[in-house]
Symmetry: C2
Amino acid sequence: MRLRLSDLRTESNRAVAKQKKSVEIKLDDLGDWRRTHYSSNLTPELDGQDCTVFGWIASIRHQGNITFIVIVDKDGLIQITAKKDEVGKDLYKKVQTLTTHTSIGVKGVLKAIPKAPNGVEVRPKEIKVLGFASVNPPIPLYGRKLPGLDKRLEIRAVDLRRPTAQAVFRIRQEALKAIREHLLKNGYHEIHTPKIISSATEGGAALFPLLFYDKEAFLTQSPQLYKEQLVMAFEKVFEIGPAFRAEQSRTLEHLSEFISVDVEEAYVDYRDAMDRLEAMIREVVGVIKSRCAKELAMLQYEPQLPATFKKFTYNEVLEILAEHGHKVEWGEDLSSAALAKLAEVNPSYYFIIDWPTQSKPFYIAQKKSDPKLSESFDLIFGSLEIASGGTRVSSRRVLEKKNPLRQIEQNWVEHRTEE
Amino acid sequence: MRLRLSDLRTESNRAVAKQKKSVEIKLDDLGDWRRTHYSSNLTPELDGQDCTVFGWIASIRHQGNITFIVIVDKDGLIQITAKKDEVGKDLYKKVQTLTTHTSIGVKGVLKAIPKAPNGVEVRPKEIKVLGFASVNPPIPLYGRKLPGLDKRLEIRAVDLRRPTAQAVFRIRQEALKAIREHLLKNGYHEIHTPKIISSATEGGAALFPLLFYDKEAFLTQSPQLYKEQLVMAFEKVFEIGPAFRAEQSRTLEHLSEFISVDVEEAYVDYRDAMDRLEAMIREVVGVIKSRCAKELAMLQYEPQLPATFKKFTYNEVLEILAEHGHKVEWGEDLSSAALAKLAEVNPSYYFIIDWPTQSKPFYIAQKKSDPKLSESFDLIFGSLEIASGGTRVSSRRVLEKKNPLRQIEQNWVEHRTEE
């Protein structure tokens, strides 16, 4: 039987209650101490070896003349067992002053112990106190039941020590890595475009204005027009970086600042873009499943992929919604309520294609067969729009004609060499 | 003998002179045409195969009843040879209307020809005009002699078709990729921190103010304080993203917006940071040399690495400068002139360590042996500062004491749990 994270919860609470404010502790220097093992490197086979480990104290339990300390490092937990008759008076006294969330280094000997995390504990010879926690977080960090988001955000840096929080961040990192790998492997060139711009990209609204020296400027909503220009040299480009939108509605679907994955390619149309997106998502989900099995288990989530990403036209979607008693005026965007209704029919990934031309930006091409419709798509996951795209207008004349309506500065298009 | 880029230059100029403004050309649709080969995939062994290629016209040369078109795609050049008696009247007529920088697709047959780029040319059967260049860039894009930067920036999107410009971008991409690979491989977690902040990170100056809804906010100068908080959970983190500085001096060493590589690690000091930096740069330079040999040759540049990255203390640097007749007041930063002088002694990578505490941010630790000096470094390449860092202050009390001087909002440190 191994120590579980939930066992730490009571200990942590007890420690909080015991502690007094403003305890004075002299901090040790790191000096020449360097880590020899992360928690993930510890196995019973290392029994008898010397080690230096570091971490933050997750729990302390005093039991007669033995003190059990569990520290957490970036990979997990390590149990430190200090026996009074083994460590000597001075070190044992120091151990008694330690508090949860204090940062320590431990030099000691590894000992195989079935009950300890990873089956190993450390018998300390020396301990350094590198940071001292005189006040403990007002919320328990371990265990299943979480306090509200507001409380957690108040102490976000410490809150992120929670294993489930870390699992989310590790999956996020692997997802971005898999996206980048997929795009690089397929010949896309990674770019970084300016975030401070002199005019709007997607239309006039939703911009954050700033003072660039003595001039007004804005934060980019997307690298759209930059990447369109860059395909004229690089053909296939992508950017992973921040985008900024002064959204007026505060919902879970709207963020003022977010990391955006932008892809652009020459000599293809919106169907190729959808194929690329579907292939990329399939690969990313596969990678996450294999590289983050532990994290997914911790979050009790298993990503599902449909056999194909279905494609519904905007007109079909309006019919489906009408059948379900949800009326949408032709030309209107789909509300959160409409998307929630659609999620009942299609709970996973699907595309909505051929949106009304009037509802898409000026650079999206209209359909030859029906100019009221555009060669465009949104990718939906459940009730969430996660991507959108479309065929670009390639005629300079058409762009110039549509452009003034959107109040985009002329200089965005004046150096396009195509007609 | 193969066609050289410099040969294209004269052609390009001639084409510019010939062209009239506002030529009317009906654009073709991409339809179901898709590329079968990039220029890089073409080899004489493909003789006789069908192909579909795309690109922008780099040159057109009419020679009796034959027209030679060279197009450029993301990987290089492709020669298209249209013979009047082979392609038929209609297609030959269409070929005569083409202009340089026009974007075309070509379906045809590959033919091994020693003189063509890659030893292959395309004999066209059909050509689509996907974008038409009625005006050509006022500067030649090929050839060694470049026009001024201002002129090139005016038509930057087209200017980036220059092979040497592309070489710079490809090396840049590979460098960032190698940096990321090095850090991920060594257990660093990739993070993305907010770029809109409510207060300064490095001090009060050099910030761009913006309007965040109805509040004043700023663009981040660096992810410094965020990454320091995040090591409390992840221990080893890095971010590659934009940083913004309202620099008052406009020199080659100062940018208002740039991509910054930020690394942070717990339980180490500034010497470890220097070791990591040196190891990373050695790996990155090695990767560039092997993956970008072609691009380096094109730029006629060979990266050099010194046997070790020497470490000079700030005090030693002042002595060296004094010996060379360059006086710097103790505590002052090194001017561009001082760094240029040092570059004569150390033309490659070297560290300057132990800077005056007063000249470094509040979160940099002072040296135990001499509190006037700090555990800090700058990494210099020639006369350019390319990185800086230092040991962090780990005592909450010390941070709080130094903090007000720098006018950092209290909430940046109030939730640190360490003393």
